[in-house]
Symmetry: C2
Amino acid sequence: MTRDQLYANMLRKRSFLCVGLDPDPSKMPASLGGDLLSFNKAIIDATADYAIAFKPNLAFYEAQGPAGYEAFEQTVRYLRQHYPDQMIIADAMRGDLGNTSKAYARSFFETLDVDALTVAPYMGEDSVTPFLGYEGKWVIVLALTSNKGSMDFQMLRDSEGTPLYEHVLRKAAQWGTADNMMFVAGATRGQMLQDVRRIVPDHFLLVPGVGAQGGSLDEVAHYAMNAQCGIIVNSSRGIIHASSGDDFAQMARAKAAAMQAQMAQLLG
Amino acid sequence: MTRDQLYANMLRKRSFLCVGLDPDPSKMPASLGGDLLSFNKAIIDATADYAIAFKPNLAFYEAQGPAGYEAFEQTVRYLRQHYPDQMIIADAMRGDLGNTSKAYARSFFETLDVDALTVAPYMGEDSVTPFLGYEGKWVIVLALTSNKGSMDFQMLRDSEGTPLYEHVLRKAAQWGTADNMMFVAGATRGQMLQDVRRIVPDHFLLVPGVGAQGGSLDEVAHYAMNAQCGIIVNSSRGIIHASSGDDFAQMARAKAAAMQAQMAQLLG
């Protein structure tokens, strides 16, 4: 999916919502018997009207062993087949030595055909660039996360006062372009999003942490939107586990609709 | 596996060799038809006499889809069943938000029962600590890698000249102990290993980059060994793909034997 296609989807659907497909069996209705794929299909069908992207986090699938991994793949296939306009983001936090990153890139962009993949930057350029050679595919580099531990290293400052996450933004922005790279920037960091936007004015930002984690959608939009929207806001638990009963899909739809309504206003 | 058990294995086998199970189908003999599990079994049987650990890198399995993931799990089971004294290190570079890390911890330490897991530190404390609550299990934190890109961020210095990787070592060492945490420290960084050893005198170091990547075993031992050995040296391609013909297992055994002989001398 190209940048223009993504933006066109946002305008058409009046939404920049990404639904995080992080299914927790303990929060799923008992009637599903822990079936991740059935759960995901119901969530996707219920929320696709209001979303422009879906983001399965691999951890939740791998935690179930090979069957979970199979459910992840089938979820991707279901999206590809029934909702071809949705961006599929594999939240996998990969990033390894060159050879290994190449294997991951093949796996996610060729075998699976997802649109985007999150990567961790700690190992530097040769761990990220193998993901950049794919037409219409995106690398989403972890820059500023919304968890408490993000203060441990991301905020470490060099002798000129520049924090590590700024170095990550500046360096990584040289490896790719605003057409094949995005950055993760957590919603709970409020004004820091303004600093991120100053450094990478044109790149899309994937913003987790709105909703269950406490970030405000208005604040995120205020600090981080640009002329082409420029943000994809993710909500996972707040939508998919809004109810743990048999009305989970209905409740998810209501939550997604409410977020989309707010987003439509913010898109102006 | 406890620290004492690991060290006892090293003394008994006169080895601190870890064999990296990173099978590349294009380098496997055609007769195997790309069967990762058969390849791994042959490598394990051929090299276990000379090794104290095996380290499958998940990327090489995930690149093959669910069948690959299944081969990874079966490899772990094969090791557990036939070589219970071998440490199994899942090289997965995980590390995510608290909830997600918890899911990974369950997956690797409970469902799969590996002994150790590599994690990336970028997201800080709450992405690492969920892995620490398991008796006899280890977290191996990425500190200093041996690739070119490691210079991009790991060597960034704060106002006092302290590089990021030192911050990672110092902070992470406060989260765990030398009994449940190790660090990845690349072999090609030569004298830097001495700095690592100064900061974490007691922790085991997992040292990749010897052999195919150019690091010297003598140099690694010189800078990084401690009174209880203190290092696990990994070799992947240099052993498992020493030959791409039908003699691959035989050649792997010869390479592993040669490394073990050198290690026996270094253990004194």
